[in-house]
Every structure is written in C-alpha cells, then in structure tokens.
C-alpha cells in the first residue's frame, strides 16, 4: 500500500480487479486442464529436448571429436551458447533484484516468470562447460576437494574457476530468491485446492500462514537478497567476460569487456523475457496483469542497454585503431570484413540499429512489433557471442594456423536441445506455479490498479484514503 500515486503513470493492473479476482485470474492457468496449445507446445519442446539429449549422449560416447572444433578454434558453438544462455538469465535477476531496489512497481507483473527464466537459462548454460570438457565423468575435478593427488588443488587464479563459482552461486541464489517468493503463492493455491493437489501444494508452501511477523521477515529477506543479488548479477557476466578478457588473444584482451558483457546480457535477457511474456499473457489470459505499460517499460530497458552495447562495439573499433597494435587492428578488421563478415553484419543490424526504433513510443507499445524485435535481438546477441568467440580464433597470430569453423549436426542438435530444455521447463512452470506473483500484485493494487490510478480512476476513491495512512506510518 504505497500511497504516492503519480498522475502521469499509467495503471499496471487493468480490468478493475479486486483481491479475489486477482487470485482467480492468476491461479486459473494451473487449475484447469491444459489447453491444446499448451499440449502441442509441450510435445514439441519435449521432442526437441529428446533430440538434444541424444546429441549430448552422442558427444559423451564418441567424444568431442564429433564437434567440428579444431586446433585453432577450440571454442565454437559450445561456449557461444553458454555465454548466450547466461546472458539471457541476467534479465530475471535485474527485474527481481535491481528493480526491487529501485522500487519499480511494474516489476511485479513480470518478475516471477523472469526469475523462472533465469533459473532455466542458467541450467542450459551450465550444461555446456560440463560437456565441452570432454570427460563428463570426471567433471567433479572442477571443484576444490581433498583428493589423493597431493591434494592437488584447482587454480584459484583462473577466470575459468571464478566462472564456476560465479555460476553456481548465481544459480543457487536465484533459486532461493525465486522459491522464497513462490511460497506465499503456493499457499494461495494450497488453500484453493482439494485432494492430491492440496497435499502437493501443502508440501510446496512450507506451512505458510501469512502471519504479520512472517511477512515482515519475508520483506526483510527479499530486500537483503535483492541487495546482494544486484552486485552478484553484475559480477557473473563480468567474470564470464574475464574468461576472454584475461587471455592474450587480440580482440579478447580488452578492458571494455565487463561492462559491455553486462549490458549485452541484460539486453538479450529482456528480449527473451518479452518473447516469453508476450506469448504467456496471451495464452494464459493475463493481459490485465502484463499490460502494454509493462511492455513499454521493458522496451525502454532494451533501448538503453542496446545503445550501451552499440557504443561498446564502436568503442572497441576505435580503440583497436587507436592502440597502434597491429594484431588488435587486424582482429577487428577481420571481424568486420573477414570470412565471417556476415556474423558481424547480423550482430550490428540486430543489436545496434534495430533497438533504436524503440525511440518511437508507438513501436514500444506495439505488441506484435515488440515480439518480432525480441526475436531479432535474441538472434543478434547470439551472433555477438559467435563473433567474439570462433571468428576471433579463426584468424590467430599465425596464418599457417588459420582455419574455418562450421558446427557439426551434433553441436546444432545440442543447441536446439537446450532450447527444448528451456521451453519444457518453462511450460511445466506455467502449469504448476502462478506465473504472476499474486501477493506482490495485490500489494500494488491500491496504487496501480486502474480504478485507483490513471485516467479511468473512480472519483474520490484514490489517493486520500491511502495517503492519510501512509502519513501516519511515517510518523511511526
């Protein structure tokens, strides 16, 4: 019940909802039998997932020789996909943590689904380092544990090990944050359910009652978790960029990488959130909770981060030229006009030019256009990682080592498989859990519901009642 109601803010909840109607609307998708669209999407996702699993098993059985990596190009689609997925995950934490600290109310409509997306994306990402080392059965060598080889420890100075710690921490913290927020909403589902469903949700809701002291601790925990998740999310992609930036490869060894990677991550993540949200709001009839206002806000973030990414690309080029270091100059000339020029062209078009269209308010508020753009940006950001990784390696110091790389069917299959894993998990999530945070939406109803805020607000029903309370609270 935050009481400051801005007259220029559009309402975030439309349809004159009351508390009960919010519960009904958001619980409905998990309480009815799945629609034909859901079943079709689920079957397709599981089929693609299965092909991915097949390709992973193929890789494990025959070794990474089944990929088209070679001595020059040691990182190909595997690490490209790893960075792409990790980047996608960042939007969820940005929405749930950073926007919580900034008290952005529009986050409540999308935070639950965005956090779920983070967790699934990080799972997909973590798969790639696991399989690209080739011998997955000794993958526990990654971790520092007392062993009989000395004990011989891992190299704590290596950015690859930092990455292991960053990503496992990121996954754990995101999962805890997400689940803690889900508990009160699982309790709502529990109290509406009967039979086996009630037992399941009773287990999932951890015995939540909604007592005042529990809500107080809940808010305290959310705030502190948001406070530490904020530097965490910035650190994760910074450390991912260290995988490249601390090496001595021209084109990778640059100080601009950390901020550039973080901006790119948020950029691609928001694009994926929009892709998912636009479909979800339509299929689950949640247009009143994920409104055009939300889409507009997310498009503004896309515009900002897209512009940061654009500036970073151009800065890289200028600094390479200005460095006077021929290998660096060659690396960038090669990216722009070398054998992989088409990847650079795709990256520039999708990431730098296309988001600039969002300066136009009409485009930002057009759902179909936004959907199209979100796909475009996802492709562009994939190209960015492809440009950075294989195309840089393809033209190394020694012309005799120069090479060219196209993925094998196994690599393509594994990438498709991760898309299958991602969408399968997301579809299950939309069936099991409330896609919009019920309690959080109720908490902003009095300040952002369309009967209280915006031009259609009922007269005399708005600020005054709630204002007086807030003022009294401030006195306390």
């Amino acid at each position: 019940m935050s009481a400051v109601i801005s007259p220029i803010r559009d309402p975030l909840i439309t349809g004159h909802k009351d508390y009960h109607q919010i519960t009904e609307d958001i619980c409905a998708p998990s309480e009815r039998t799945p629609s034909a669209a859901w079943v079709t999407a689920f079957l397709i996702s599981v089929a693609v997932l299965s092909f991915g699993v097949f390709c992973i098993l193929w890789t494990i059985w025959f070794g990474i020789g089944t990929w088209n990596l070679n001595r020059t190009i040691g990182w190909g689609w595997d690490i490209t996909n790893f960075v792409w997925w990790i980047g996608i995950g960042h939007a969820g934490t940005l929405i749930s943590a950073i926007l919580l600290l900034f008290r952005q109310k529009w986050r409540t409509g999308v935070n639950r689904a965005a956090e779920a997306m983070t967790i699934f994306a990080v799972l997909c990402a973590a798969l790639f380092p696991g399989i690209h080392v080739g011998r997955i059965w000794v993958v526990f060598y990654f971790f520092p544990y007392p062993n009989t080889r000395g004990p011989l420890w891992v190299n704590f100075n290596s950015p690859l090990l930092w990455d292991l710690f960053a990503i496992s921490t990121y996954f754990t913290v995101s999962l805890l944050f997400w689940y803690t927020g889900l508990v009160p909403d699982f309790a709502t589902l529990r109290d509406r359910a009967t039979g086996v469903r009630k037992k399941v949700y009773n287990f999932l809701s951890f015995g939540w009652t909604g007592a005042a002291k529990h809500w107080q601790r809940f808010e305290s925990l959310s705030l502190v978790l948001a406070g530490i998740a904020t530097p965490l999310v910035l650190s994760v992609h910074t450390i991912v960029s260290f995988d490249f930036a601390t090496s001595v490869i021209p084109g990778w060894h640059t100080t601009i990488f950390p901020p550039y990677f973080v901006a790119g991550a948020i950029f691609s993540g928001f694009a994926m959130v929009l892709t998912l949200m636009i479909i979800t709001r339509k299929i689950l009839n949640l247009e009143d909770y994920i409104t055009v206002e939300h889409v507009d806000s997310m498009n503004k973030v896309i515009l900002l981060t897209g512009s940061i990414v654009g500036v970073a690309y151009i800065t890289e080029l200028v600094i390479a030229w200005y460095s006077g270091y021929i290998y660096e100059q060659f690396a960038f000339a090669n990216r722009v006009q070398g054998v992989y020029w088409w990847a650079y062209f795709g990256m520039m078009t999708c990431n730098v030019l296309s988001p600039q269209l969002f300066w136009v308010r009409k485009f930002r508020r057009n759902i179909a256009f936004t959907f199209f753009m979100s796909i475009f940006i996802n492709i562009g950001m994939w190209f960015e990682r492809f440009v950075i990784i294989p195309t840089t390696l393809a033209r190394d110091y020694l012309p005799s080592s120069w090479s060219y790389y196209v993925p094998s069917w196994v690599e393509i299959g594994i990438f498709l498989g991760t898309l299958g894993i991602f969408f399968t998990l997301y579809l299950i999530f939309t069936r099991v859990a409330p896609v919009v945070a019920i309690a959080e939406v109720k908490a902003i109803l009095k300040s952002s519901g369309d009967q209280y805020a915006g031009e259609h607000a009922k007269q005399g029903h708005t600020a005054h009642d709630t204002h007086s309370h807030e003022e009294e609270n401030l006195v306390h």
């Binding site: 930092w162 803690t180 951890f206 502190v224």
Partner: protein, 175 residues
C-alpha cells in the same frame, strides 16, 4: 504446536479496515494474538509492536563467514599447502582471490539467511501449520485472539471489539 489452542478470529475485507481495527484494539488495550494477511500490509508492524527483523544482521554474519572461508582457504592452499607460481605472479596473489571471495560471501549470506528465515518462521518442506481460514491467502485480512487462555469477560470484549470494528465474519477455531 504442542497444545491445542482455541482461537477467536475476525475476517476483514480490506487492509484499511484491518489497520483501523488494529488501532482500535490497541486503544482498548486488547491483546491481539496474531494478524494474517494475503500480502504484507505496510504500517502494521509498529501497531502490533513488532520489532524490526534482525535477519539482515544474521545475513551479515553469514556473509562474513563466507568471505573469511574463501579468502583464508585460498591463502592456505597457495602459501602453505601447495604453493605454485602461475604466470610469474606471487603465491599470495590477492587480486585474483577477489572474485571467488565475493561469490562465496554472497553464497553463504544467501543460504544462511534463507535457512534462518524458514527456521525462525517455523516453516520448511513437509511442515503443515494450521490455517484459520482458507481465504486468508486470497482476499481476507484476519485478526486473531487467544480465547483459550482468556477469561470469559475478556472473550466477550474480544467479540464485542470484532463486531464493532467491522469484521465481516467472526469465528472460533481450535488449532
């Protein structure tokens, strides 16, 4: 909960009704057992005399433990247990320890706080706590009194208060 408790409670339709009712109860010096709501109602804590949660202090302690664990462990490994020179840098290369130290600080703080949160809330996987009314997680706001440990006179005061403060439903439940 070990012993069964008899709870008298009233359900309100709106958080503003709830807040004014709690104020009224304070004015009448009635001892409220608990207040339940479907979402956090701001301004309620001071009225109920709830102190600020100390969860963040616990979080700081867990974070500090994580930081020391990471930093001291890496220091021990690279200066005592198995010193190795990487890239011509000193054994004790502090800047390189920063990322992992930071990550473990965050990890310990988060896990510690979440575990503490569920422990002090009396919640966790498999825990079932009594629910006074199924609609408290939907759209009802509840004030409850411990009727089992109150005199008849007090119970009638509770009942009178609930009626007068605008509770839409008043019931008793043994939990």
């Amino acid at each position: 909960m070990s012993a069964h408790r008899e709870i008298l409670f009233g359900l309100y339709d709106d958080e503003t009704d709830l807040l004014s009712a709690v104020k009224e109860a304070n004015a009448r010096h009635l001892h409220i057992d608990n207040v339940y709501s479907p979402f956090p109602v701001h301004g309620l804590d001071p009225l109920l005399g709830l102190q600020e949660s100390r969860l963040h202090q616990a979080g700081f302690v867990y974070g500090a433990i994580g930081m020391l664990t990471a930093f001291l462990f890496m220091t021990w490994v690279f200066t005592r247990d198995w010193p190795i020179i990487f890239g011509g840098k000193p054994y004790w290369s502090v800047p390189a320890f920063i990322p992992i130290t930071f990550e473990l600080t965050v990890l310990f703080a988060s896990i510690g706080m979440v575990v503490t949160y569920y422990a002090v809330n009396g919640q966790g996987p498999g825990v079932t706590n009594a629910v006074l009314d199924d609609r408290i997680t939907d759209d009802k706001f509840c004030i409850s009194f411990d009727a089992g440990h109150a005199s008849e006179e007090e119970v009638s005061k509770f009942q009178q208060f609930l009626t007068e403060s605008g509770a839409k439903e008043i019931r008793t439940k043994t939990i």
